[in-house]
């Protein structure tokens, strides 16, 4: 996207404005449609208003969430002190980090196998399988996974967090795959051919040429996988075993009992974390344009 954005479109309106002299607004801008700018602002305000309100009220001194009395950090302190919140957040992070690392490793390998290669038999099948988690509604994936894992638990008697992590790996792979593949496709074969001409073995050419060039894509993929894992609700809620209280499960349990400022503080921290990672992803994948 950012790449295409670098190519400026012809701007007839702007050109006309320039002909008449600077500072004067164009008389008729063909690109403008009345009301569209308003709608865009309404859209952004609509998206951010609930989040902004949530963040502001997480600093509210009053235990009642609706009445503002004064600024305070107390809910952050109490959220950090709440063992249940801490455990849920740590569990969610553990699942997200593990799933993101494994999914990114698998996705990198798959991207190397399917990008910039001559078409081979089974390539379409590999694409289809990798994208499968994106095609099926989450609720269907969720219940199918539950049924499958129940069967395995019955057969093997093995329980644990591994099931939840595996479920996350499955839907993280296609997300990690996309930016890595995009990066690979943009890479010039010439670098690797040059390395081979200089007597580098295929492994050394990969290790010292392909891999370093691929790093932004891999990091971008990992960020995306991490975000998607942290963002997931449906599959996490369905697949979590007893005693595995992840963040979404904790929030659902709390909301049933009512809205608390402590929950606002925790939600704000999570929003900050995902904003940070989304920003990193944005910066990492944007670089390829330059």
């Amino acid at each position: 996207m950012s790449q295409a954005a670098a190519v400026p479109l012809p701007k007839p309106g702007a050109r006309r404005a320039a002909q008449r002299g600077r500072g004067k607004p164009p008389r008729f801008d063909v690109r403008r449609l009345p009301g569209f700018a308003t709608m865009a602002w309404v859209c952004v305000i609509g998206l951010y208003a609930p989040i902004v309100v949530l963040v502001i009220y997480s600093f509210n001194d009053n235990p009642s969430v609706t009445i503002w009395t004064g600024f305070s950090w107390r809910w952050y302190a109490s959220a950090f002190g709440n063992e249940q919140i801490r455990d849920a957040a740590l569990l969610s992070l553990r699942v997200a980090v593990t799933a993101a690392i494994v999914a990114t490793a698998f996705a990198t390998m798959a991207a190397l196998a399917t990008t910039r290669v001559p078409s081979f038999r089974g390539l379409t099948a590999i694409y289809a399988i990798i994208n499968q988690p994106l095609m099926v509604p989450e609720i269907v994936t969720g219940i199918a996974t539950v049924v499958f894992f129940a069967l395995i638990k019955q057969l093997t008697g093995i329980y644990g967090l591994g099931y939840l992590i595996t479920a996350h790996i499955v839907f993280c792979i296609p997300f990690a795959y996309l930016p890595i593949r995009a990066r690979l496709e943009d890479m010039d074969r010439a670098y690797e051919i040059a390395a081979a001409d200089l007597y580098a073995t295929p492994w050394r050419a990969f290790r010292y040429v392909t891999l370093p060039l691929l790093v932004p894509g891999i990091l971008g993929g990992a960020m995306l996988a991490f975000l998607v894992s942290l963002d997931d609700v449906v599959i996490t809620v369905l697949v979590s075993g007893p005693g595995e209280e992840t963040l979404p499960l904790y929030v659902i349990g709390q909301v049933k009992r009512g809205v608390t400022p402590e929950l606002n503080a925790m939600a704000t921290l999570f929003l900050a974390a995902s904003t940070l990672f989304a920003t990193l992803f944005f910066l990492l994948t944007r670089k390829r344009a330059g």
Binding site: S2, A5, L9, P10, K11, P12, V30, R31, R32, L33, P34, F36, A40, C43, V44, L47, P50, I51, V53, Y57, V65, T66, F106, M109, A110, A113, T114, G122, I129, I130, Q132, M135, V136, E138, I139, V140, T141, G142, I143, A144, V146, F148, A150, L151, I169, V170, I173, Y177, L230, D231, V233, V234, L247, V251, V255, V259, A267, F270, L271, S274
Partner: protein, 319 residues
Amino acid sequence: MTTETAAAPPPAPAALSAAEAAAQAVERRAGVRRWLLAAPAVTVIGVCGLMPLLIVLAYSWAKPADYAGVVWRFQPDAWVNLLFQQDIFSDALTPNYAYYSIYLRSVEMAFLTTTLALIVGFPTAYFIATRSPRNRNVWLFLITIPFWSNLLIRIYAIMMIIRDDGYLNHALISLGFIDQPVPIIYTNYAVAYGLIYAYLPLMVMPLYASIEKLDFRLVEAGYDLYASRLKVLWHVIVPLVKPGIVAGCTLVFIPAIGDYIIAQMLGGGNRMMLGNLIAQQFSTARNWPQGSALALGLMSVVMLALMFYAARMQRSRAQ
């Protein structure tokens, strides 16, 4: 020169075949390596993504066990129940109106969400695509950031605003518009708002990608031919960005029709959608075959939507 080319052909077949054999060996090794590289991802998704669906397919034809699970006896009841209800006494089949109303609500909500998301998303995407390249990235970033935060946290933020004791009602009361809180949460409007809120970026992104490629000389030509803004929008811009519209609508429609968590949180218990019905079969109703059949039914609807999308894309590419 001429002698060389004349002399060259005789040894060529042998050399070529040797080179060919070597090339084939290299290619074969590369092929094996490609499969080995793809294997982990393909295996994980194949085993934990595709196989469960096959198991669900098998379960949908089995008999429900008393407490969750299935008994392995062939029984097509779950599929029949999608449309008909069996009378306990006479075995007569009557239409399953309870399910029809849930299907209808799901489809209605999905269409409503898609339409409203298009109405809001199109102008937004158009506005973004007509900014300077630098501003475009900032706008896109702004639109996608909320999308990357936990869905439940976003729903929670909405709940804080629209619940009976929420900020919206407080604001309306203190401004004197109303004196009693208006019920907003646990209505269809709340669910629709939640769905649009959650999936709007999925509409804006493909629309943006289409509009950004739009050749504005065609738009200018439309104005030169004395078309009004509305006419240009309808007869020039919309037909040109149709692929983006179809992609955006598909991307919003699919998660909206399969929604589970938004209807549960913002719709309360009585605004059931297909997703909730499916989840219920695996929790309180303890009828796994029924849940499996419903899930596969939903999946077929989504697959049909995707096929429709693919067909549209192919047609527009052919043009």
